[in-house]
């Protein structure tokens, strides 16, 4: 069940989960495995006729104990919807579910990093349309969060705190704010409509957030997704990743809770592809300026409110 191989040339792990080749692929709504099991209907992954939020172990895991975990988080028993259309209370509940899973998975000896994420849209490889996210619990700290920790060291303190202060001072790329959360298109965004949802106070993880902060985070996520959907008047594809502190045994190494969105669209109907420079050299070539994208996104968030 999965096999890690270390790619010496890249200095990174590659996970071979070849059983995933056979996972359910874009079923018709009546065969959705994430819908509830209706009386007299087909049995789904969730053997209940109704539910609020459900988490279960992925049938096609990329990581499995004692070398991590793979879980599915189903946001609602309705087949339609998104973070932007769920009730504010439901998204708030989701924050507590994320918090509970981060705490429980992170406490395991075989888990060094818990990544909560969502893939939305066929453009980013979604295989099930039912509103849901996933959790991968890695037996190592993956390269992206590791680079964020290195940025902390390079900047001599929390990189996110420093970048947040710069963004708030500049203001041109900020698209949404509350007392607890700020959302901005980062200064050096890779994707045209990349956005970071950042806790204003330094919080290493969801465990450090109080109820008001979690509610504010939920509100910001909903507002951003509604804004995304308003951009081109259609469901907006993205990859969403929740970055938190590693859960390894080492000393605390910084980390600042934030949620990153990587949308592949650079304009309506046009995808940004990772091609020669991005894949061959690791350097993103961007087609838009973050300040211009932020202005467009800010207006869309206002329209979507």
């Amino acid at each position: 069940m999965g096999d890690l191989r270390y790619n010496e040339l890249r200095g990174e792990e590659v996970d071979y989960a070849i059983h995933r080749q056979d996972r359910t692929f874009l079923p018709e709504p009546e065969h959705c495995p994430l819908c509830p099991t209706r009386p007299g209907g087909a049995v789904t992954e969730i053997p209940h006729p109704a539910f609020e939020i459900v988490v279960f172990e992925n049938r096609f895991p990329a990581f499995v104990a004692p070398h991590g975990a793979s879980e599915v988080v189903v946001y609602t028993d309705s087949h339609e919807g998104s973070l932007g259309t769920l009730s504010a209370e439901r998204v708030d509940s989701l924050m507590w579910v994320w918090r509970q899973r981060y705490q429980e998975l992170g406490a395991r000896e075989d888990v060094r990093y818990v990544l909560i994420f969502e893939n939305r849209g066929v453009q980013v490889g979604v295989t099930l349309h039912h509103p849901h996210g996933q959790i991968y619990a890695y037996p190592f700290v993956p390269p992206v969060p590791e680079r964020e920790l290195q940025a902390d060291e390079r900047l001599g303190g929390c990189a996110i705190c420093s970048l947040l202060a710069q963004e708030l001072e500049d203001g041109r790329r900020v698209v949404y704010e509350t007392a607890q959360v700020a959302v901005y298109v980062p200064y050096a965004a890779r994707w045209a409509f990349e956005a970071h949802v950042v806790m204003r106070s330094h919080r290493a993880s969801l465990l450090d957030c109080d109820a008001a902060e979690l509610s504010s985070l939920a509100g910001a996520l909903g507002a951003l997704v509604r804004g995304y959907d308003a951009l081109f008047d259609e469901p907006f594809p993205y990859v969403m990743a929740v970055h938190q502190a590693p859960t390894d045994d080492g000393p605390p190494r910084g980390s600042h809770l934030h949620v990153e969105f990587y949308p592949p669209l650079r304009t309506a109907g046009k995808l940004k592809y990772l091609a020669g420079s991005e894949q061959g050299a690791g350097t993103f070539i961007a087609d838009t300026l973050p300040e211009e994208s932020a202005a467009t996104l800010r207006e869309a968030i206002a329209r979507g409110a």
């Binding site: 099991t37 969730i46 209940h48 279960f56 609602t76 028993d77 579910v97």
Partner: protein
């Protein structure tokens, strides 16, 4: 945590499958746990995978 088996197939509980008898009935942890405004219960699916049902206290399956 205390685990119990749900009723046998056809017993009419919420965990009864509709595609025929299963080899092992679902195991359900009867104790409710809590996190923030949520209650949650754990189950073990037929194939041994874990499933957790979360419910906001005071709310019932509004989808």
């Amino acid at each position: 945590m205390r685990w119990e088996t749900a009723g046998p197939p056809g017993a009419g509980d919420a965990h009864t499958r509709t595609d025929g008898p299963r080899e092992e009935p679902l195991k359900v942890a009867r104790e409710e746990e809590h996190v923030g405004p949520l209650s949650f219960t754990r189950e073990v699916k037929d194939d041994g995978r874990m499933l957790i049902l979360y419910r906001r206290r005071g709310e019932r399956g509004d989808g």
